[in-house]
Symmetry: C2
Subunit: 349 residues, 2 copies
C-alpha cells in the first residue's frame, strides 16, 4: 500500500508509491552526453579565456604576482553575464493595486569549480571540492555586507535537463532582496518546532537518522548523508552537519573538508548508479546576518533528475515518489564509490 509521509520541517506531504517500487535500474537509460566538442571549443570558463566573462570577483590558487583575469587559478568567481538580478540600480518597492513589485536588485554569480573542462565533481580531489566550498562561503560573507540582500542561494545545475547551459563545471549563487518562499517555510516550521520542544528539528532529524540508520548513506563524526524520510524525488539525498550551525558561513575549515568528502561521495554514487545523470544541488542556510539562529541548521539537498514533476505536483505541491527512501538508501550504500581513506583525512587546503 502506498504511504503518505510528511516532511518534518515544512507542511509538505509526499506519496511514497511503494507499489511502483522503482529501483536504480529503472532509471538507467540513454543520456544525452554532458560534454560535447562544441561545448569545449566555445567555453568561456577555460584557461586563457578569462576575458570572455565579466571581470572576476574572486580567484583562488593563482601565484601572488599574477594579475587578475589570467590563467593559473583553481577556483574562479565571476558575475553572471546574463544575470537574473543585478547589483546596480535604484531599489524601489511599489504597490500596484492588488499587486506588489520590487526592482530586480540582487547578485548573480558563477563559481567556476575547476580549470579542467571535463573534471566533474566526483572526479575532483576532495581538497578541490573544499576549495569550491570556501569560495561559496567567502562570497556569501561578502554579499552579506550589502544589507539590501536578504538571502544567498548557492546551487548547481549539472546537465542540460537539470538546467545547465554551459558544460564547464560550475555552481551559481543568486542573492535576493527578499527571503525566498522555501526558506521562509523552513524557518517557520523550524521555529514552531523549536517553540514547542526547545530543540532544533534538524538536530532531531540527525539524531533519529543516525540512531536508526535505515536511511543513512554515509556517516562520520561530523556529517550524515541521508535519503530523507519524506523524499520528494527518487534517490534524493540530504547532507546535514551533526553540529548545530545555522549558517554555512560559520563552517570551520576542517569541517568544510569533511563535508567535501560527503558531497563528492554522494555525487559519485549517483553518477555511478545512474550513468552520470543530470542533477541539482541546493545549499540551504540561514538568511543573511542571521547566523545566530537557534532553530535553523544549514544543509545541502541533492536531487538527481530521474523523475519529472508533472501536473499533480505543480497543482498540489505534493510529490509522488516511486522509490521507497529506505530502499534508496540501501541501494546507494551499496554503490561502490568511495573516497579512499588517505584522501578522506583532513588536509590543509
Amino acid at each position: 500500500m502506498p504511504e503518505l509521509r510528511k516532511d518534518p520541517v515544512v507542511e509538505r506531504w509526499c506519496i511514497i508509491a511503494a507499489g511502483r517500487g522503482k529501483r536504480p535500474s529503472d532509471f538507467v537509460g540513454e543520456r544525452e552526453p554532458h560534454f560535447t566538442p562544441e561545448g569545449e571549443k566555445s567555453c568561456p570558463f577555460c584557461y586563457g579565456r578569462e576575458d570572455r566573462t565579466p571581470p572576476e570577483l574572486a580567484a583562488y590558487g593563482r601565484p601572488p604576482d599574477a594579475g587578475p583575469n589570467t590563467p593559473g587559478w583553481t577556483v574562479r568567481v565571476v558575475p553572471n553575464k546574463f544575470p537574473a538580478l543585478q547589483r546596480d540600480g535604484e531599489f524601489i518597492r511599489t504597490s500596484d493595486g492588488v499587486y506588489d513589485r520590487m526592482s530586480g536588485i540582487g547578485a548573480h554569480e558563477i563559481i567556476v569549480e575547476t580549470p579542467d573542462h571535463y573534471r566533474t565533481l566526483d572526479n575532483m580531489d576532495v581538497s578541490a571540492v573544499a576549495g569550491m566550498l570556501r569560495a561559496f562561503s567567502d562570497r556569501m560573507l561578502d554579499l552579506e555586507n550589502d544589507d539590501r540582500f536578504k538571502y544567498v542561494q548557492v546551487f548547481k545545475n549539472f546537465g542540460v535537463a537539470a538546467g545547465a547551459s554551459l558544460e564547464h563545471p560550475h555552481c551559481q549563487l543568486i542573492a535576493t532582496p527578499v527571503v525566498p518562499k522555501r526558506i521562509i517555510e523552513e524557518l517557520k516550521g523550524a521555529l514552531e518546532y523549536h517553540e514547542f520542544k526547545e530543540r532544533c528539528v534538524f538536530c532531531d532529524v540527525v539524531q533519529r537518522e543516525t540512531s536508526d540508520g535505515t536511511r543513512v548513506v554515509l556517516e562520520d563524526d561530523y556529517f550524515v548523508s541521508i535519503v530523507p524520510f519524506a523524499s520528494r524525488f527518487p534517490f534524493e539525498v540530504h547532507i546535514l552537519p551533526k553540529k548545530h550551525i545555522a549558517s554555512f558561513t560559520e563552517i570551520a575549515e576542517d569541517d568544510a573538508y569533511r563535508f567535501s568528502v560527503h558531497l563528492k561521495t554522494m555525487v559519485g554514487k549517483i553518477s555511478l548508479a545512474f550513468g552520470e545523470p543530470p542533477y541539482n544541488f541546493m545549499l540551504h542556510t540561514a538568511p543573511c546576518r542571521r547566523g545566530d539562529l537557534a532553530y535553523y541548521h544549514w544543509h545541502l539537498e541533492l536531487i538527481p533528475k530521474l523523475a519529472k514533476a508533472a501536473g499533480f505536483e505543480w497543482g498540489t505541491g505534493f510529490y509522488i515518489n516511486p522509490t521507497v527512501p529506505e530502499q534508496a538508501a540501501k541501494d546507494l550504500r551499496e554503490v561502490p564509490f568511495e573516497v579512499n581513506e588517505a584522501e578522506a583525512e583532513v588536509q590543509t587546503v
Copy 2:
C-alpha cells in the same frame, strides 16, 4: 532592469527577467512527436479495448441499452491501473518520533476525453470539451461523499516531457486525504486578504485585469483568460470565472460550455504558437465539501512546458521567468486561433 513580482495570493515572488526578453520564437524547437504508431497499437483507451482498463466508474454518450465497458462512449472515466493512492485499506495515521505517516488512501482516476486517439483538446468540439468538464464535476461530487477525502486535484499532462505516459487524450484526478500544500497556501493567502478587505482576492484580480487589459488574452461576460501578473513560467495562462464561485462543482452547465471555449482557445493558441508543446493544466477548486467559501474562487492554471525549473527554483521556490507577462499576453492575443462564433454560442451538451 529585472523586476520582482509577488503573487497576490501566495507568498511567492517571481523574477521577471525582462533583459532576457524571450519571445515565442525562442521557444519553438524540435519537439518529440506526441503520437507514435506504437502508441496507438498498444493504447488501452481506444474503442474495443475497454477490458484493458479496470472497470469504468462513469461513461457518457453511450446508447442507454449498451452495457458498461463497451464502445460507443464519448467520455469515459476509469480507475488508474497503477494508482498513486488507493481506495481500499485501513486508514491509519501514525507518529513516528519526529516524523508523521498516513496510509496512502485516496483515489486516482483517468478521464478519457474522447474515443479518438489523435483528437487533441484544441481539435475537439467545444461541446466535447464541455462533456469532459462535466465528467470532472460528476467525479468530484461523487468523491466528496467519501469523507476520508479532503481534496480532488484534476490535472492534465500532455506530452512525455510534461509527464504523460499514454498518448490517448486523457486527464487525471487524484483525491487526497489531506488538503495539499499549494491549496493550503492559496486558502491561507485568500483568507488573510478577505479578513483585511472583506473581498475575494481572485475577484479583485479579475476586476483589475479586465479593467486594465494588458494581461488579458480572452474575455467574455463569464470568464477571463490572463497571463498572470507574477507568472512563474513563460506563457503561463490562468482562466478565472468572473462570478465568485468557490468550487468547480457549482459551475452551471452553460458556464461549463463557456469555460470550454476559453480552455480550447488557450490550448489552441499555445499549440499553434509553439508547435504543439508539452503542457500541464491544473484545476484549483475549494476543498471537498467547502463550496461555500467566500474567500476562495476556482480557476485553472495552464503551463506550457517551455522552460525548466532548475536548482534556483527548487532551492528557493522563486521562479525566473524570461518572458514579460504583458508581452506574453500580447503575443498570445495575436496567435490566430479562435473558436468560431457559431461554435462559441452555448449549445446544449
